[in-house]
Symmetry: C2
Subunit: 151 residues, 2 copies
DNA sequence: GGATATGTAGATGCAAATATCCTTTTAAGG
DNA sequence: CCTTAAAAGGATATTTGCATCTACATATCC
């Protein structure tokens, strides 16, 4: 319901790239940092490349980088790449009787989708980057374990 | 993405029941009116019964009716029965470092989910019933074919 | 140019959501 | 009772999203 796993993965990865602008990140690096299965992540990154959100470089020193700055890149861009948001334009019941007008049900559902869409347009990837810690994960500071958190 | 097929089916059916309050509707009737595969609909209706949103009567003259009036029943009630909305409460990455605080990514995603949840609480099933036509479908007037739309 | 490190592509496996079918239970009406 | 109409339950497809594995292409470094 609501957001697919793949959307999660794609967003985590893009946020990670945003916080490492300029430095190509390999699938392995991204996978470890974002805790996404690396084999699957490879597919996801490839999708992002095909739609032009990221660039790839092969070979030693290669990896992925964003093609835009993180404040020119919205959550919607990422979401629409891997699992596009589809507005309800026609009645799923295929009734001709109300032409372009949706019935109340689908009108309300579409409005809900629209809200999400708007929120995702407004939110830039830059807004999602954690700044309060040096080289941390996308989501705190996993990479720099705190004192007293031995495992 | 966003809404599952089952949610669609459940909502259509409940809206149909709402517009036939008092008259038990059989799975067959609901299925035809809402264009949902009847065998699958049977499962969905059963779920709605288990969570108490509808009552069933077996045997001749049986069918399903709502247990509440349509303005006491929200879209969220229905959605949560068949495909519950889950807020993001803990960081999916399982990082302890930020305790109860979500990272910006998951904070934003959760807010989006929260918006949907609110919208679905506010929307009553009564708001979704088409009133402008007598015995029509949930979504216009499919049941009363217009003149000149022979088939 | 050989060794190594990367992304790219395709085949396949697996599990969950969706859909179908068949049997059993329960109720109503004669 | 018996017949019929309905829901309830269970077994089984089908489809799709998620994930894994392997082979291949391309770049860097020595």
């Amino acid at each position: 319901m609501i957001f697919s796993q793949t959307v999660e993965y794609a967003l985590r990865s893009v946020v990670w790239l945003a916080s490492h602008a300029g430095n190509p990140q390999t699938v392995q690096q991204i996978a470890e940092a974002t805790q996404v299965p690396s084999n699957y992540l490879a597919k996801v990154m490839n999708s992002l490349r095909r739609t032009g959100l990221v660039e790839s470089r092969r070979g030693l020193g290669g990896g992925y980088i964003l093609t835009r700055t993180s404040d020119e890149l919205t959550v919607l861009d990422v979401v629409n790449t891997v699992d596009p948001i589809e507005r309800i334009e026609r009645c799923p019941l295929g009734l001709k009787s109300h032409g372009l007008n949706l019935c109340p049900l689908h009108k309300h559902l579409d409005e809900a989708i629209g809200m999400i869409e708007q929120a995702f347009i407004k939110t830039k990837i830059a807004d999602l980057v954690v700044k309060t810690c040096e080289s941390g994960s996308i989501c705190g500071k996993a990479a720099t374990p705190e004192p007293g958190e031995g495992s």
